[in-house]
Amino acid sequence: MPHEPSPAPRDLVIQMARLGDLVQTLPAIESLQEAYPERTLDVLCAAPLSSLLAGMRHIGRVIPWDGAQWRDWATGWPENPMATLQVMQQYLASLGDTTYERVYPLNQHERSHLMTQLFLSHSTREQEHDRMEARILPWAQHLRHVARERGANRVHLADAWCGMCGVLPRGQAPSCEPPPVELPQDLAEIGGRQGRWIAVVTGAGEADRCIPPPVWSQWIREFLAQAQDGQVVLIGSGTERETAQAILDSVPTLLHGRVWDATGRTNISQLMRVLQQCHWVIGADTGPLHLGTLAGARALGWYFSRARMHETGPYGEGHWVYQHASQARPQRWPIMESIALICGEQGRRATDWALWRSRMDRWGAYFDDGSGNEAVESSRADIWRACAPSLCESMAA
């Protein structure tokens, strides 16, 4: 009697955070795939972002978690508890019998904890629970400490997530070919003509992390004046359309032919495609900035307010970040300096801003301001040794 081959064991990564975090989870996903090629890796993420992972190689199944639907159910409970419970039952059934031997939760909140329990196989739950605790706890404490104290941490969040998954970073940035989606006719021209194509990320979600529209207006005017072959693409969500319009209105009409407004007009796959056509992506610490790195653009980040490039800077080799000197709202912006950098001149500091360049080594990504990296490497190695001693031992062996 022919023996039915048993299906490959399945593991699950849970990442429920926003676009930027999901992009920065890819190093951990790739490291897991490399470490356990015989296992199938599924990923659970917020439903609106699931298309990002659709084109990723080696991901078994993407489970879209529909938070809006859950909110609706929670609201619907008082009106009809029985129907709500039953619809949840149906939802459970729609997920099939999928349970996992290993689950890698990357968010430190109750929902993530509940999901882990929900998806973890009954038979391995207790054993895996202890393993997870041992793997995750030191890193969770480290991240909490960083969030609280900030301090001199140099371990990138994407690499800390590798640690949480019990794997070392691969030492190279992930990349992804955008799915072949159609773009609106005018946006399809992006990248079509010669020149330096720059994607400008107009928004940042929270108001205190947004770069004011007049700053972008000035940046675009100056850039288009200096780079005769320069082309600018405005990137943002539907809520940023007005901002983009205000920026466009302040750009002289003669230059309008070199500015494309893609705000609110693309889904994630289309946005990736647009970013793939750009040489650079510039903006605050935002999802599209990170998505740009995945699509192959070089990133130039302006990090201010609570954003710190050592934790959430663009992942990979050769990106740049202007980091503001304090958490206070910047009074000056590195407009001319960043244009000079993009136009091929030597990178230089700006008043109140330090300039950093991203690099990669065996501990993952880090940022270098040109002052040497030995101390940096040693501090990152110390953190790895403290949080993941057995991994470091296996690495040394």
Partner: protein, 605 residues
């Protein structure tokens, strides 16, 4: 076979008696005229009740508007017959699990409809409801489905009293059957006449088994009063207005902590229109019992669109005024008594001496009372005056008790019980009796509940509550001395009348009755929200029954205590109490997940 006969045959297959009655009805109520589209339209008493252009389209628009609100399992009851275009359109819009019934107040009209339009293809499952309002309510109660009332106004207008009577009967049915436990946030005033009533309402709701969260603003009264001492009226108004705004926000913050099924405000509760609109946006259900004379206090005009339900103790013009000001639903809800507080007392002789008199009055020194009461002086019987705000009423000083101090409820009850004849004169700002005597004050019910005899100035509503054998009224204040003389010496007759009035209050006019009525109105209007709680559908037993062999769900709910309403947060707390190391079932984890989403900040502030 003609269409009428065909329709009768269809009807007879399920409603034999009705078919016979319609056959013998004379008809002739509707005047049938062709619409522009060629379809028959109709007038009743000269008014179009369907579109003269396109009755079909008009009916579809009406059905589109209402169908979305109708929920699976409900019985939708339509008021308004006409040519039934709207009923056909609605039936076609609704899913089969929504039942549809039509009230038939006038069989002649139904006869006309069946002569004019065919029932074929849409009417098979319609429940036709002839009969009296009580019979209709009974029929619907037996079916036992949640009821949602809809009105096709152009056709319903001619029978508005009948439809109101049906709604009353349905509401009373809901009130009688109410078995579920609501959570109600009761928002009280900072001070004033509605403050003690807030306490009575709280007790009544709790007596009915509901959970009441009192948002008590009276604790801020001292600060509010201090601001009232500011001499500059602009500053005074500004400060008091700002304080009311803050208290309104305070209410919002309190509601956010534990969202109730219903926010019930009492008159003068500090709630701004802005806050009410915000609550509405967040799907909070709000109601206000306006226990004030709408002619004297007029702030309701600004707040009218803010509350989902208004309850007022005046009828007629008052209801119209509220509707015109933008109130969505306004209902009549008269005052009442709280028999736990307003009750007969056995008093010591000392208390009888101290608080008793042949004639007493308890109340504030309104202008009309100041003008009328001197006529009660120098009479052969004793007269005592209790209450505050009598400053400057020098001629009444000799009978004013406790130097015009404010009288608390306990003292008030002693006076009521110790007095032979309690005078009850409704306040006005004019010189005599209230010329617009269209409500009955709480004191009328309170005195009656105490078993105390009273002489009350006549009110247009009085005989709705008390017969002439239960309460004596006067139309002119000049009658009072004669009435006192007549009744003072007839203790037995006074006692008999007072006892009868008390019995009537206990059987029909307590705050428990009123709250049952108030919730009945809301339950009828919100069959899927308050209505379903009142029907007990959230109780543990009901949920277990509805698990329909779903074992994991059944087990989850069976774990909860019986006889209690099951809320998501309770269910989640129960699961969490198993401890962090417990191995939870999938269903339990799903409930905890749902509770996580529920507990997200409701963004109320």
């Amino acid at each position: 076979m003609n269409m009428f006969q065909d329709n009768l045959n269809r009807l007879a297959s399920r409603h034999r008696d009705l078919a016979a009655a319609v056959k013998s009805a004379a008809g002739g109520v509707l005047t049938i005229e062709p619409a522009r589209t060629g379809l028959p339209s109709a007038r009743r008493s000269g008014r179009w009740i369907h579109s003269a252009y396109d009755p079909l389209r008009e009916a579809q628009t009406w059905a589109d508007t209402h169908a979305a609100a109708c929920k699976s399992g409900e019985m939708v009851v339509v008021a308004g017959v006409g040519l039934l275009y709207h009923v056909e359109a609605l039936r076609k819009k609704l899913t089969p699990d929504v039942s549809l019934a039509v009230l038939l107040p006038n069989l002649d009209e139904f006869h006309d409809a069946l002569v004019t339009r065919s029932l074929e293809g849409w009417s098979e499952s319609i429940l036709w409801l002839p009969g009296t309002p009580a019979e209709i309510a009974e029929t619907l109660a037996k079916i036992g489905r949640p009821i949602r009332c809809l009105s096709y106004t152009p056709a319903a207008l001619a029978d508005v009293e009948f439809h109101r009577a049906v709604e009353d009967a349905l509401r009373q049915g809901i009130a009688r059957q109410a078995g579920g436990q609501l959570t109600i946030a009761l928002v009280g005033p900072i001070y004033g006449g509605s403050l003690p009533i807030t306490g009575y309402v709280k007790r009544a709701l709790e007596t009915l088994g509901h959970k009441v969260q009192l948002i008590d603003h009276s604790i801020h009264a001292a600060s509010y009063e201090v601001m009232g001492a500011l001499k500059d009226p602009r500053n005074r108004q500004l400060m008091q207005g700002r304080m009311a705004d803050v208290l309104s926000q305070w209410t919002l913050a309190t509601l956010a902590e534990s969202p109730p099924d219903l926010v019930l405000s009492m008159a003068q509760a500090p709630m701004t229109l802005q806050v009410l609109e915000h609550l509405r946006k967040k799907k909070f259900l709000t109601a206000m019992w306006f226990v004030e004379n709408y002619r004297h206090l007029t702030y309701w005009q600004q707040l009218a669109p803010g509350y989902e339900f208004w309850f007022v103790f005046q009828q007629g013009a008052c209801l119209d005024a509220f509707r015109q000001a933008g109130a969505r639903q306004v209902h009549y809800l008269p005052m009442a008594a709280d028999p736990d507080l307003h009750c007969p007392m056995s008093l010591s002789e000392e208390d009888r001496q101290r608080f008793g008199a042949d004639v007493s009055f308890v109340g504030a020194g309104y202008a009309n009372r100041r003008r009328l009461f001197p006529a009660l002086l120098r009479q052969p019987w004793s007269f005592k005056l209790w209450g505050n705000e009598w400053d400057g009423a020098d001629d009444l000083r000799s009978v004013l008790q406790l130097d015009g101090a404010r009288i608390d409820t306990a003292t008030c009850m002693k006076v009521f019980n110790a007095t032979a004849i309690n005078l009850n004169v409704h306040s006005t700002t004019g010189a005599g009796l209230d010329p617009q005597a269209d409500f009955v004050n709480p004191r009328t019910f309170e005195l009656a509940a105490c078993g105390a005899f009273q002489l009350v100035d006549h009110r247009s509503q009085l005989r709705q509550f008390f017969t002439e054998q239960e309460m004596v009224s006067f139309q002119d204040f000049g009658e009072v001395p004669g009435l006192v003389k007549q009744w003072l010496n007839d203790h037995a007759a006074r006692q008999a009348m007072a006892n009868a009035a008390r019995a009537h209050v206990l059987s029909e006019h307590t705050y428990v009755h009123r709250m049952r009525d108030l919730l009945g109105h809301i339950g009828l209007s919100q069959p899927d929200r308050v209505g379903s709680v009142l029907r007990g559908e959230r109780q543990q037993e009901s949920l277990v029954k509805r698990c329909a062999d779903d074992r994991p769900l059944e087990a989850l709910i069976q774990d909860c205590p019986s006889g209690q309403r099951i809320e998501l947060k309770d269910l989640a707390a129960r699961i969490r109490s198993k401890g962090p190391t417990a191995t939870l079932k999938r269903e339990e984890l799903m409930v905890l997940m749902l509770d996580e989403y529920r507990s997200e900040t409701r963004d109320l502030l």
